[in-house]
């Protein structure tokens, strides 16, 4: 069934081709679900949610481990539990959800083109649009490992879906390249399912994933983590028969003579996530080079008026709680935009990443909301640091800074009222 039966309105059925909405949300992961719920609660009348898969919930459905929603719900949910809680909430609203519906285009005038097997190609003309398409994994093509192209090389997220939803074990002897959270989680998962995980190899000299995942996914199961290591060759004809791993130097170049052959039938890649940005590009929103997602204001508005973005489509967040918060802001502000509560105000200033900061989100401040900053450090600093926000002279002390732990902080609106120059966030050793 394409449509969910609740809150269906007949006039949609016979239109087929063109419909109107106050807010159209694209994607039903936590970002999209929260945005749609919040838009509806904030007074937007016709809220439409479009999802290409056959169920709501996004990536959460395959993240069967716990650790979700500790902040938002004060509960230690698994991904599916967290999703089901949001799905129950959206059912209590007037939001209309379209499943199996792929969005193929978004225009700058907020017309969304979508296709499904029941309605064919149709368009939704919305007063505002929320982009919530999430992110995708970097695949082998984007990292370039020499060697053959046998079966048995797959991304950690694909393996996660195979094991957790479809019930297939992708291999028995596994090497994992990259120490992102999905790779760590899958190291544990595959071990529990009876596979032997030979090790996690990370090219950087620090781990990519959260510390707690190193402990409870690797250490708990005696799975070794090799930093400053990478896979330099894949061997095998039809199927992976092994990989060559090498140590790398400070410039991340393989060190001659450090090669080691590891027999395995599967290589999992956990080498990073990038925002799904095809639709964003098509809509003409400005993209950030640092995040690959839209340049976003504190209201989650992109550079195109009335188009908002939230969750991992904007920048890759570590925690679902952060994703949900951006969804809440996007939904509320999309409703404000529709209600006409969006008068020209004092313009905007840029928010810039300064010293030792790889990513700062959002990238613009428009003087409409309080500013919640998400800051990803550029390198690990295992010493006390000060995070400074210029020009308002806000200084926050932290015990360390690490790229695998995004720092979140709130800046009071009042402090920013008189700011006229760019806001710059930097991290310095104390």
């Amino acid at each position: 069934m394409v449509r969910q039966a609740h809150h269906e309105r007949d006039y949609i059925l016979n239109l087929g081709m063109r419909m109107q909405a106050d807010v159209t949300v694209i994607g039903s992961g936590p970002a999209g679900l929260v945005a749609a719920i919040e838009a509806s609660r904030s007074g937007a009348k016709d809220v439409i949610l479009l999802e290409r898969e056959e169920e709501l919930g996004g990536i959460l459905k395959q993240c069967i481990h716990n650790g979700f929603g500790l902040e938002q719900f004060k509960k230690d949910y698994t991904g599916p539990e967290y999703a089901e809680r949001l799905i129950d909430e959206i059912r209590k609203t007037e939001v209309r959800c379209f499943l199996n519906t792929m969005v193929t285009g978004v225009s700058a005038n907020r017309t969304v083109t979508a296709v499904n097997s029941e309605d064919g190609v149709f368009q939704v003309e919305a007063k505002s649009v929320v982009l919530a398409m999430g992110c995708r994994e970097r695949a082998r093509g984007s990292i370039n490992i020499p060697g053959t192209r046998p079966a048995g090389v797959l991304t950690a997220g694909t393996a996660q879906r195979l094991v957790n939803i479809e019930g297939f074990l992708p291999g028995k002897e596994v090497v994992i390249l990259g120490s992102g959270d999905i790779g760590l989680i899958m190291a544990r998962r595959l071990t529990l399912e009876g596979a032997r995980v030979r090790g996690v190899y990370e090219i950087m000299n620090y781990p990519g994933g959260l510390k707690r995942n190193i402990v409870q996914c690797l250490n708990d199961f005696n799975i070794p983590l090799y930093l400053s290591h990478t896979v330099t060759e894949i061997q095998g004809r039809e199927r992976v028969e092994g990989v060559v791993v090498s140590q790398v130097d400070e410039k991340m170049q393989p060190i001659q003579g450090s090669e080691k052959f590891l027999q395995c039938d599967t290589l999992l890649l956990s080498v990073g996530l990038i925002p799904e940005n095809e639709l964003s590009k098509g809509a003409g929103v400005e993209l950030s080079r640092a995040t690959n997602g839209p340049v976003t204001a504190e209201t989650m508005e992109t550079s195109v008026p009335g188009i908002f973005s939230c969750g991992n489509v904007s920048t890759v967040f570590d925690l679902v709680d952060y994703v949900a918060q951006t969804g809440m802001s996007a939904g509320r502000n999309a409703a404000r935009f529709v209600a006409g509560d969006w008068k020209e105000n004092g313009g905007s200033v840029e928010v810039l990443a300064g010293e030792n900061v790889r990513v700062v989100f959002p990238q613009r401040y428009c003087f409409r909301d309080e500013l919640t900053l998400y800051v990803r450090p550029a390198k690990p600093i295992e010493k006390p640091v000060t995070l400074s926000i210029a020009p308002i002279e806000m200084n926050i002390k932290r015990l360390y800074a690490r790229p695998n732990e995004m720092i979140r902080l709130k800046v009071d609106r009042k402090k920013l009222e008189k700011v006229t120059e760019p806001i710059q966030v930097s991290i310095k050793e104390r």
């Binding site: 056959e54 169920e55 459905k61 069967i64 481990h65 716990n66 650790g67 500790l70 230690d76 698994t78 991904g79 599916p80 539990e81 999703a83 089901e84 094991v163 957790n164 939803i165 479809e166 019930g167 998962r189 529990l192 399912e193 959260l210 510390k211 707690r212 190193i214 402990v215 409870q216 708990d220 570590d318 925690l319 015990l399």
Partner: protein
């Protein structure tokens, strides 16, 4: 008595505080590096018997998907994980299942129940 130094990473929440603990005769003398008060409970338990929530899947028939995600409703001793997964491999389960339904009681003799973490209708 000698002071023993140990390092722990708390896994209670995603912050993952790393703490240095001083022990004397198995008793905690000091803990440094934590950001909240849950740390003491974590370290005491970690010294006695490391406990974790088990999350895994069980095969289900008559549903849209082959696998139903499940969890232990409270932490169980880490050393019982493989035994628990073994018990779960042998059960017969048919859709529909509702979120929080008990799938197995007292898994691996741990006192915890295995419960469904999502609803799966018959399809």
């Amino acid at each position: 008595m000698n002071v023993e130094k140990r390092h722990f990473t708390c896994v209670t929440c995603p912050v993952g505080c790393e703490v240095d603990v001083e022990l004397r005769g198995g008793n905690i003398v000091s803990i440094k590096g934590n950001r909240c008060e849950k740390i003491k409970e974590f370290v005491v338990q970690e010294l006695k018997e490391p406990m974790r929530v088990l999350t895994t899947t069980v095969r289900i028939e008559g549903a849209k998907w082959a696998m139903l995600p499940v969890r232990s409703d409270k932490p169980i001793p880490k050393r019982l994980f493989l035994q628990a997964v073994g018990e779960l491999a042998n059960i017969d389960l048919k859709a529909p299942v509702h979120i929080s339904d008990v799938i197995i009681k007292d898994i691996a003799g741990s006192g915890a129940n295995i419960v469904a973490t999502r609803t799966m209708e018959r399809s």
